[in-house]
């Protein structure tokens, strides 16, 4: 046969042509607080705090950043944003201040033997005015469930630290603006 055996699309609103089994999922655990984690994790309670601290440290490095509090709160809700610390700003070589959403939960790393998993801070951007499902710093939706859950494989990739602030944008695109550039 010279054609693909199956095709699935995970986006493009492609409900009708998902012609194969569900997407592979990765088992993990999501908690809002350390206490919640301790109540659920029987075997290695130390992991609860260690993962929380690791997610907390990653939060400072990887949280989405906004140049104003209003911009951040428009996405995450009133009172759900905090200023980046002066130390972080100096470290990142940033001139101005920035704001980021508060951490609303965390996803355990190294869960169930997957050594490449890192603990991740989680955020809940607003959906129709109320906090929606948990999202990783990479903006991967990991659902609203607390406790053991399964997530898209891309959710468990280690979050990427923010780089220095962009000093400009728009240096590409002038020649192709408003016209298709493919051929």
């Amino acid at each position: 046969m010279k054609r693909s055996r199956r095709i699935k699309l995970t986006m493009l609103g492609a409900s009708a042509i998902v012609l194969t089994a569900c997407e592979e999922r990765v088992e993990t655990q999501v908690y809002e607080t350390v206490e919640q984690c301790l109540a659920n994790v029987e075997e290695h309670p130390d992991d609860c705090r260690r993962n929380f601290e690791s997610a907390r440290a990653s939060h400072a490095e990887t949280a989405p950043r906004y140049t104003s509090q209003a911009e951040c709160e428009a996405e995450f809700g009133d009172g759900r944003c905090e200023a980046g610390s002066a130390g972080q700003q100096a470290e990142a070589g940033q001139g101005g201040s920035f704001f980021m959403p508060v951490m609303m939960g965390y996803m355990l790393g190294n869960a169930l033997g997957r050594s490449s998993m890192a603990a991740q801070p989680l955020y809940r951007p607003l959906v129709n005015g109320t906090p929606g499902s948990f999202r990783t710093p990479g903006n991967v939706d990991v659902g609203s469930a607390v406790g053991r859950t399964s997530v898209r494989p891309s959710a468990v990739n280690a979050p990427v630290a923010n780089a220095g602030q962009a000093i400009s944008r728009g240096g590409f695109g002038a020649r192709g603006a408003a016209t298709a550039t493919g051929g």
């Binding site: 054609r3 070589g93 898209r152 891309s154 780089a163 602030q165 000093i167 728009g170 408003a178 298709a180």
Partner: protein, 380 residues
Amino acid sequence: MERISLAPRPDWQDTAAEAGFTFHSENGPYWDEAAAYRFTLAQVEQIEEATESLESLCYQVVDRAVGDPAVLERLAIPDRFHDLVRRSWTDRERNLYGRFDFSYDGGTPPKLLEYNADTPTSLYEAAVFQWVWLEQMIGRGALPEGSDQFNSLHERLVEAWKGVGVVGDRLHFAGVMAAEEDRVTVAYLADCARQAGFATEEMDVAEIGVTTAGDFVDLRDRPIRTLFKLYPWEFMVREQYAASLLRRSARIVEPAWKMVLSNKGLLALLWEMFPGHPNLLPAFFDGTEHGLEQPYVRKPLLSREGANVEIVGMLDAEGGPYGAEGYVVQQFAPLPCFDGNYPVIGSWVVAGQPAGMGIREDTSPVTRNTSRFIPHFIQG
């Protein structure tokens, strides 16, 4: 090879809406399933073999070009990017995909009209919507069981992402998102990358930022380590952030060496190195003593969608903004005519391997942006 009239699926527009195929009627009818092309397996294999052999010739052209600044000069690649092109090749940066356009009549060897090596589109409709069409046509009894299609694009694209050498674990995808066709192509390739296990981020090329150091960042100031861009290299090297490309802090797909292949000068270089090859047409840089008899085709080195292409002695140039960098001339190979329609075979390569086919058809012998996409199937 035969053009067959078929009844369109009555619900195909709903299927298109569900499948995210939003541009099927953007500039007049584009997806057209009132007809389909039927191929025999032997004919498809002829196209497949031509594709495989041309891809290998193209690598030989790149190999020569990176070792010879005069060749890069002839292709109008700016001097300060010669080293970037060379290093992207010697560091073996892998490519993802490309599309050869052939004139083919079902019998004589396919002739290469051009190679869309850097920013080919019509990918999603070839890989997905054409495939769904065949599945449904068979399922509804409109085509016989066992009908096949030259189309393993989707499977190969997912696999290719795993081997392309993604740096970091997030892939950034940029294109001209205001152009629906480009946006869908970018979204589709990002989808394939997600199925290969990568986290992805889609953005407009104009949203790319640079830091004080000159590195590329996304809208959240995260570093861009691997960038797929549906945006021509020849534009990028002539725009404001061109100098940042020289830092090589981001791995870019397609790699910089595709600048050699996405240039119509490729056609002249191929003929120079492999004269008389059955899948090539005589082609020369314009201004040389080419000796071609009219009609012949004159194409800008850098041109898209048939813009500024002229058939000398037959058809005036299509309008368009290209041509400043020079031209090539190529012997005119008349497209076969089926019921007043001129089909061009788009033959895809993914990770260097033949991977499928999509056919564009026009009532004019020059294929343009407005040409229709006609599905195909294999029988016999």
